[in-house]
């Protein structure tokens, strides 16, 4: 089994590991970094459960190899929570019950943050379009869309 030594800044902390070259980023985060908040729903880039931030971009953790993240800065749901970046979204998701089983939630938060931080507006159709790469099997999506709208409206309120 071919391995490679890598170093990744995960949620502000350097994680060094010797990883099999075939290991993807989400498995690295879950096993080597011990951060199990990022989930694996399909391993083929469709469901969005593994969505994380890599060097500021929203990325599917199952479509990137861990070795490709060598030297990168990665933020996961745990990092968003610790830094408070997801606090407003978490409050809105709670108020709206925009999560049921919560398996899609970490990826959904990462995608929603990507939308909000890039100046996305409280346009329900646009939000639906944006999160259409994140499957949720439980909620039917409406509460998620409303929660994201709430956060944008709170931010833009005068």
């Amino acid at each position: 089994m071919k391995t490679k030594d890598i170093s990744v800044i995960v949620n502000g902390e350097e994680v060094r590991a010797s990883v099999p070259v075939r290991r993807n980023l989400v498995d690295f985060l879950r096993t080597d970094a011990g951060l199990t908040g990022s989930h694996v729903g399909c391993e083929h880039g469709v469901c969005g459960a593994c969505t994380v931030e890599v060097n500021g971009a929203t990325v599917r953790g199952c479509l990137m190899l861990a070795v490709q993240a060598d030297g990168a800065t990665v933020t996961t749901v745990e990092g968003f929570a610790a830094s408070g970046r997801s606090a407003a979204l978490a409050a809105a998701f709670t108020r709206r019950n925009a999560l049921q089983c919560g398996f899609c939630t970490p990826g959904m938060l990462a995608s929603a943050l990507g939308y909000i931080d890039r100046g996305g507006t409280a346009d329900r159709a646009a939000i639906r379009e944006h999160i259409s790469g994140n499957y949720c099997r439980c909620t039917g999506y409406q509460s998620i869309v409303e929660a994201i709208c709430d956060v944008i409206e709170e931010r833009t309120a005068p």
Binding site: M1, Q100, F103, E129, C138
Partner: protein, 792 residues
């Protein structure tokens, strides 16, 4: 004064409030505890070699190379595994005539569906286990498959279990009244259709999985289980692995969706438990997405031929139907795969007062993955058949479909009564629900708009369903048939020394908000702030014995047990307080975490004071006072086999005749699930259920080739509803509490999935009507729409 009758108007009540769930915080912070998150010392990983064929004799299995592969710690063939596990058969005695063959965790002589596990490899990592699985060499002799349910009973069909002589697993006939005579009456018009319901599956975002640990020193197995019924699983593991029941502990923490998928016995999970015992170290098996598509139970798979008779003045005289259900090569253990068809027979036409009903159900084996109970078992079929025919009949007699329903729905003051098929019904509100639905959707306005747009070549349709949902099952559902499945549930409420409540319950959480409603009930009934309630569910080692969460039974059965336990603890605490305060229990109450004067609300004593006195300074109490500060109550439904809910739903769709694409513009649901414990959670259950129903109606299908190969076993190829294509869903309620409990709650988890397909079908047919076309096959894909329009 303190009796249950007053619990709903207490000052610190939570029942009826949209209280957010405490669990949300953890899940939103990435601190969920799902099975795949578990990392145990010395844990190893299982992977499987699975049959590439739908039907094949296993001539030989060579695992030499696999055993020698890097990182491999154990390899089990089907025969080796069969020696360690008692075979299991998915039959129930009350499903008379149901037959199925013994099943083993891994196929032994014959593989009967593509994806059936044959060989298990356990290795240090999943990757190494998968590498080794590829080295397994199996010599297969392909057998002719019987895949298509419609030909499975043909004379020349391959027989899957030779001993049975045919592929018939079960059949049942219902015959009420005289349908032939009724249909022959002058003036009765008959509509007749053949409905096809494709196979779909749950696609829980967290796939099935387990981590099993075995401690040889104590002979104890612990299964970390992503599922809905821990106590059922405990018995199954005990029976099949010949372990004392008390030596098996089943724990479910967070479950990433289940919907009925994770409540069955899967050979790969069982095999992982056997490996954990054999190796004496933890074994993890988590299905990858392809394994999920190939082996998570599939749902539906019906062909229904049905007729409805209706008079010109709009009286439905009856329904005559035949349902054929394909269930794969075995009936699933232990719930069986015949319940789906049985439900179809029980529920078709259940909202209507028709006099005549004849139904014949046949359940057949086929070489596809197993079909079994998935959210809203049988309901979407029963509702689509009855309400699809009803709207078809409305077109034939030229009557508005809402008016035809009004004339045939049972009157709201006509209960208790029976349905035509003999179901006991009470506390339903079909007429009120339909009325409310028409109001909230502005039915007249939508019809006017529809007519206007049709002139512009825009084809919109409006479709309805009036439905019932089976909830709160009594022992008549499974227990009576010999299944190790509890129909009662228990709840324990304990007052701790700090004045907080610790509660536990045998119902389980898969995202519905089970833990949240248990806390609401306990806090409100007992009288503490909800922040001071901690909830434990999902652990056979610690919770009271019970059934779990399925068949929309959590709130109605588990909730009632919690209500009774909280009330019992309250009475106990007031007895103690009365002694300590030299008062009468009837003059006291518990509010906001304190014992108060019932009349004035003035605080007499904090609960922490009381509890600390009891626990630490019992010397201050009279010696004949023996307080326990813990209460357990159990509850089961008596007098009724099930508690029915009802609902009325409507869909508004637009069909593009050029592309065949259906856009759902809006969806409305009026639900009567009895007393609503948490309106926010109920609404979200309904919405999520509707979206799964829309998935089954428009997108989702497990597509098999003629020789039994699943063609779309990836998330990219199997269409799950996504945000962009889903409508806004308006939910409203009628509250008719069930009289079977104080709480009065019925279930709400499955109505959306049960009703939405019928409403979508009717809306699409309404849109197609001006083009002279109708469709009776789900999912209603663009290709199938274009086909009925004669465009492909």
């Amino acid at each position: 004064m303190t009796g249950p009758a007053t619990i709903f108007d207490r000052p610190n009540r939570y029942i009826g409030q949209p209280t957010p769930r405490a669990d949300a915080a953890r899940l939103l912070a990435g601190r969920g505890r799902f099975v795949d998150d578990i990392q145990l010392p010395r844990m190893v990983h299982a992977a499987f070699h699975r049959s590439p064929h739908a039907h094949a004799r296993i001539v030989s299995v060579d695992v030499t190379a696999a055993r020698a592969a890097s990182g491999v710690l154990g390899v089990w063939t089907g025969a080796e595994m069969a020696a360690l596990v008692t075979p299991y058969v998915g039959v129930l005695t009350h499903m008379a005539g149901l037959r199925s063959a013994p099943q083993h965790p891994l196929a032994v002589d014959v593989a009967r569906w593509q994806g059936e596990p044959l060989v298990m490899i356990v290795a240090r990592s999943r990757a190494e286990a998968e590498d080794a699985a590829e080295l397994v060499e199996v010599d297969y002799e392909e057998l002719p498959p019987a895949c298509d349910a419609t030909t499975a009973l043909a004379k020349d069909a391959a027989v899957i279990h030779a001993d049975f002589g045919s592929n018939l697993a079960w059949e049942r006939k219902v015959d009420v009244g005289d349908i032939d005579a009724a249909f022959a009456q002058p003036g009765v018009q008959i509509v007749e259709r053949e409905f096809r319901f494709g196979r779909h599956t749950g696609v829980t975002l967290e796939s099935r999985g387990t981590v099993c640990e075995f401690d040889p020193s104590e002979g104890c197995l612990t299964m970390h289980y992503s599922g809905q019924a821990p106590h059922m699983m405990q018995v199954i593991l005990s029976r099949l692995m010949s372990l004392p029941e008390e030596n098996v502990r089943v724990i479910s923490n967070d479950v990433g969706g289940s919907f009925g998928i994770k409540i069955h016995t899967y050979g790969d999970e069982l095999a992982a438990a056997v490996a954990a015992r054999a190796l004496g170290r933890p074994v993890k098996f988590v299905a990858d997405r392809m394994e999920s598509f190939l082996t998570d139970i599939h749902a539906r798979d019906h062909v229904v031929k049905a007729r409805m008779g209706v008079t010109a003045s709009g009286t439905i005289v009856g329904i005559d139907m035949h349902d054929l259900t394909g269930i794969g090569p075995f009936s699933m253990y232990p719930r069986t795969s015949a319940i789906e068809c049985n439900q179809v027979l029980n529920l078709t036409g259940a909202p209507y007062t028709m006099q005549h009903y004849r139904a014949h159900g046949q359940v057949v084996f086929q070489n596809k993955n197993l079909m079994c109970q998935y959210r809203a078992v049988g309901h979407p079929i029963a509702m689509a058949v009855a309400d699809g025919l009803l709207e078809d009949a409305a077109r034939v007699i030229g009557m508005d479909p809402v008016e035809l329903r009004r004339r045939n729905l049972m009157a709201d003051d006509s209960y208790p009564r029976s349905s035509t098929a003999g179901m006991k019904l009470d506390d339903l509100s079909h007429q009120a629900a339909l009325k409310k639905l028409c109001e909230i959707m502005d039915y007249d306005g939508l019809r006017a708009e529809q007519a206007r747009l049709r002139e512009q070549g825009i084809f919109r349709g409006i479709g309805f369903v009036s439905m019932v949902e089976v909830t709160n099952p009594s022992p008549m559902f499974y227990g009576i048939g010999g299944a190790p499945i509890a129909s009662q549930d228990g709840a324990t409420v304990r007052l701790d020394a700090g004045g907080a409540l610790h509660v536990s319950s045998s119902i389980t959480e898969q995202g519905q908000g089970t833990n949240g409603i248990l806390a609401q009930i306990a806090a409100g009934v007992f009288g503490v702030d909800i922040d001071r309630v901690k909830v434990t569910t999902g652990d056979t080692g610690t919770v009271p014995y019970g059934g779990g969460t399925w068949a929309s039974r959590g709130a109605g059965i588990g909730g009632e047990a919690m209500l009774l336990a909280a009330q019992a603890l309250k009475e106990q605490v007031l007895d103690v307080a009365a002694v300590m305060l030299q008062s009468e229990p009837g003059l006291l109450d518990i509010r906001g975490g304190a014992v108060v004067d019932a009349a004035t609300g003035a605080e007499r004593m904090g609960l922490a004071d009381l509890a600390r006195t009891v626990y630490y300074r019992g010397n201050e109490l009279p010696s004949d006072l023996k307080p326990e500060l813990i209460a357990t109550r159990h509850y089961r439904v008596t007098d009724f086999p099930f508690v029915f809910t009802n609902g009325a739903m409507a869909a508004h769709v637009e069909v593009d005749p050029e592309t065949g694409f259906v856009k759902v513009l809006h969806f409305w649901a009026v639900e009567d699930c009895g007393r609503v414990i948490n309106p926010m959670l109920v609404d979200e259950q309904v919405r999520g259920g509707v979206v799964q129903g829309i998935g089954g109606a428009l997108y989702e299908e497990c597509l098999y080739s003629d020789d039994g190969q699943l063609l779309n076993a990836t998330m990219a190829d199997y269409m799950v509803p996504m945000a962009a294509e889903m409508p806004e869903i308006t939910v409203a309620h009628i509250e008719t509490p069930t009289k079977t409990s104080f709480l009065g709650a019925k279930g709400a988890g499955e109505a959306g999935t049960g009703g939405a397909p019928a409403a979508i079908l009717n809306a699409v047919n309404d849109a197609l009507q001006p083009m002279g076309a109708t469709i009776w096959q789900m999912p209603m894909t663009p290709e199938r729409i274009l086909k009925v329009l004669g465009k492909v």
